[in-house]
Amino acid sequence: MTHDADVLIIGGGVTGCGIQRDLALRGIRSILIDKGDLNAGASGGNHGLLHSGGRYAASDTETAAECRIEGDILKRVAPRAIDDCGGLFVAVEGDDAGFAERFGERCAAAGIDCTPLSVDDARRMEPAISERAFAAYAVPDASVDPFRLTIEQVADARRLADSVFLPHTEVVGFDIDGGRIVAARCRDTKSGEVRIIRARQFVNAAGAWSMTVARLAGCDDVHVVYSKGTLVIANTRLTRRVVNRLRPSGDGDILVPGGTVSLLGTTSDTIADLDVVRPTPEEVDRNIDEGAALIPALAHTRFIRAFAGVRPLLLPSGGIGADGRKASRGFTLFDHLDQGLENFATIAGGKLTTFRLMAERTGDLVATRLGNREPCRTAVEPLPALERSSWTEPGHSARVWIAAKNPADNILCECEMVPKSTVDAVSEDAPGAEPQMPLRAIGVRSRIGKGTCQGSFCSLRVTSHLYDRGTYGGREGLALMRDFLAERYKGTRPVLWGAQMPQAELAETLHCGLSGLDLIDDHGEDGAP
């Protein structure tokens, strides 16, 4: 199969999606591809913090200021994806008093609106904070739903310029002729089919994989270090605001509210291999033990899942640093001219909060190269509320369902109140929808699997519904359910204790005992009982 577009963007994270919308606003049609799915990398594996910049105020004034400016823009243009809840920085017994004392002036230097608080005031604002706190500041941190942000951008790019997102499409090589990439040779990782994508400009926004993609084009100027970060999700919202530990970055030093839950993070461990990135019980314990010093309730909270992402941290050319926390959070746009290519660009590094600026810089370069004079409009043009990009919002499906008053529209996911009609809409019209829609892809675009049962029950109900509506016609439906459950399990495994353990036991009786999913293919026979 061959595709043509003005621009091919590689990487369906928040940056790639941001570039697609940035270009669409300039009238440029693009194809966006990802070897997995939307937000499959770091964009889906972070705490959803819209940084005020406070976290970087002490170490990197430039990044801190960038975060402040970009945070303000996003609050204006993407309000539905953002909970402008505010944030606190709090030091507890044992933390460096000098660091705490200098925090206010560091924030001021980066232009961050930072207010010193008495400990009593801080604990009145957030009663979950430890009574051992000794210093506190308020900053304009916010939380953001990266899935909503991503899906809205792709949906809007389709509306504006008929741009396309192709999931499970991996670049395996580039056809280069006279200093120009002519086409990307891709492989459909689901079907194995080859896809040739021809374009005039090629953009590498592959995040942790950007060094690999650059090398496929013969460019060896991108150097990324992989820093694995593990987070854990509490099943209730423990604080109204973001609460940061007021000390240099470390494990378990931030709690970010996300709707009705709280996300505790984050570990930082440099890894060599991108293929196996899963959260471990040990990393979860580190977060909880450290986090409980700031928010004591974390020691006995119920956690519903953990997840891990890889921060792609840029290294100065050639340099290899061991400590991911000290590497720059800044970003770089590579034009690759010195690598002998005139229509290839790589955008790497950076962070969720600054993705729009990264997309703007990339869009400027690509537009100029295409002879397009339209300015960037992402800082002023709000993301429209499109139905097809709203299903990840908690409660949205339920509201639509209640308003429609159709009792025949049965609820499939009881934890998150998702009915058949939502599954139908997502399968037909969400960005990246395809005829044989995988359950995992439906999960990314809706609330399916995100409740306390983590998909244990609704996977069976949704799969049956998908067979009913003809989405599946053979064994593939069971294989895709199994794939979805295996993926969910990566996140639940490290938090299986307390109330989660009976859930897991019940899930195993459902998935194996009742459904026989452990019997559908052979894993090999290397194990002893």
Binding site: N410, L412, G473, R493, L496, G498, L514, D518, G527, P529
Partner: protein
């Protein structure tokens, strides 16, 4: 009003747990003339498919002959609780229990020399040992590749005849699907299996449903339905429906809350007290005391505290789902007696990386170590108490979900525990 002085009940055997193992122990106690008091809150029994497995799989491979499988287990996995019992004990226990359940009102096909195939709602088959009569026709229809129509019901979420057919297509060419509406529950609003099952205990509903079934069977020789054929008298409902439709009918288990588990729970809860078991359902033992010559179990009901003074006790409280074991961040503990739990050294070793790894997870083999009389062992390796026994899924060294050995494990170890209790109580 509460009574300050606890009431006291005496028993030869206190059975803690109301799953298959607990009820099997109650059956064996009745057989032996032991006075049993059974305590528990019958939760997880509702999740069963109704199939009684003995030993169905070995690391993902089906086992045709479970008796040969058990002998093999004795060589490769000698600590498995089922591998520690003589074949006669296991065989006799299974025959007696299926007979008792049949007598209570759910006919089971008696265990035979080999495993049989049983249908799953996903359109797969598994091996099992003993099947309720209402479901037995399914495996037979598959084996004979009979022209069969699978029916699903408007509004019944989680069971799709199309899914069942799509997954069986290769093995069962004569399979088709159709959807019908259940009488008076066909608006499309969610229709619950339990409601339909109870409705089918009324003749008029059966007649109306049969008429709708007849309208869609076409040339099929056989009809498959999700399990909805009655709660209290499934065999009578099944026979009546076959007569009305004029074709053999079989049931397929469904996801919880499902009818097969409900049937077992209700029939056991109603039938066992009528036969002499003192059943304290809906109450868990809150604490227990090991005394030199007896075991005391304390629970509270609406009138205050009750103490069961038992000559012996059988712990059949199940695993995490039933509350027999509790998992904490730092380890697993037994919840009633705080017995030592055999378990992996760290939480990191509880589970494998792949949820569906056919070798199973180490945590599923955690549990109580017992001696040959099924008495839980203390940390010194000797029995914690001469009169305390354990049975069922709480035992260490088995993986009942993956091995498909849950019912066999529960029933056979319950029998062994009752034998031990009988000896210990001098009866």
């Amino acid at each position: 009003m509460t009574n300050p002085e606890p009431r006291r009940i005496t028993a030869d055997v206190a059975i803690v747990g109301t799953g298959i193992a607990g009820f099997a122990a109650a059956v064996f106690c009745l057989d032996r003339g032991l006075r049993a008091v059974q305590l528990g809150h019958a939760g997880a029994l509702a999740y069963t498919t109704g199939y009684f497995d003995l030993l169905g799989y070995d690391r993902g491979r089906p086992i045709e002959d479970p008796w040969a499988g058990l002998a093999e287990l004795g060589r490769t996995w000698p600590d498995h609780p089922l591998a520690r019992l003589p074949r006669e004990t296991v065989e006799r226990a299974l025959h007696r229990f299926t007979e008792a359940i049949t007598d209570l009102g759910i006919a089971y096909v008696p265990p035979g020399p080999t495993n049989v195939r049983a249908l799953l709602p996903t359109g797969l088959a598994k091996t099992t040992l003993s099947i309720p009569a209402t479901m037995a026709g399914g495996g037979a229809a598959l084996a004979a590749k009979k022209k069969t129509v699978i029916l699903d019901l408007v509004g019944m979420v989680g069971f799709s005849a199309k899914e069942f057919v799509a997954n069986f297509t290769a093995d069962w060419p004569g399979l088709t699907s159709a959807r019908i509406g259940f009488p008076d529950l066909d608006s499309g609003a969610e229709a619950y299996p339990e409601v339909m099952a109870r409705a089918l205990e009324v003749r008029a509903t059966r007649e109306r449903l049969a008429e709708r079934i007849r309208a869609v069977v076409g040339g099929a020789e056989c009809v498959g339905l999700p399990a909805i054929l009655g709660v209290h008298a499934p065999d009578r409902v099944h026979a009546a429906m076959e007569e009305l439709v004029g074709l053999p009918i079989f049931e397929i288990p469904t996801m919880p809350p499902a009818v097969p588990g409900l049937r077992l729970r209700e029939l056991l809860e109603q039938g066992m007290p009528a036969r002499g078991t003192t059943l304290v359902s809906q109450h868990k033992a809150a604490r227990a005391e090991l005394r030199p010559d007896r075991i005391d179990l304390h629970y509270r009901d609406n009138f205050g505290e009750v103490v069961v003074e038992a000559a012996t006790a059988i712990l059949a409280t199940g695993r995490f789902l039933s509350g027999g074991l509790a998992a904490e961040r730092t380890g697993v503990r037994e919840t009633l007696f705080d017995l030592p739990v055999e378990q992996p050294a760290t939480r990191g070793e509880w589970h494998r990386d792949d949820w569906f790894d056919p070798r199973g997870h180490a945590i599923n083999r955690a549990g109580l170590l017992v001696d040959d009389a099924f008495r839980p062992l203390g940390s010194d390796g000797s029995p914690v108490h001469p009169r305390l026994f354990a049975a069922g899924a709480i035992l260490a060294g088995q993986d009942w979900v993956r091995q498909r050995c849950g019912a066999g494990l529960a029933i056979a170890t319950a029998r062994a525990a009752v034998e031990g209790a009988a000896r210990a109580s001098g009866r």
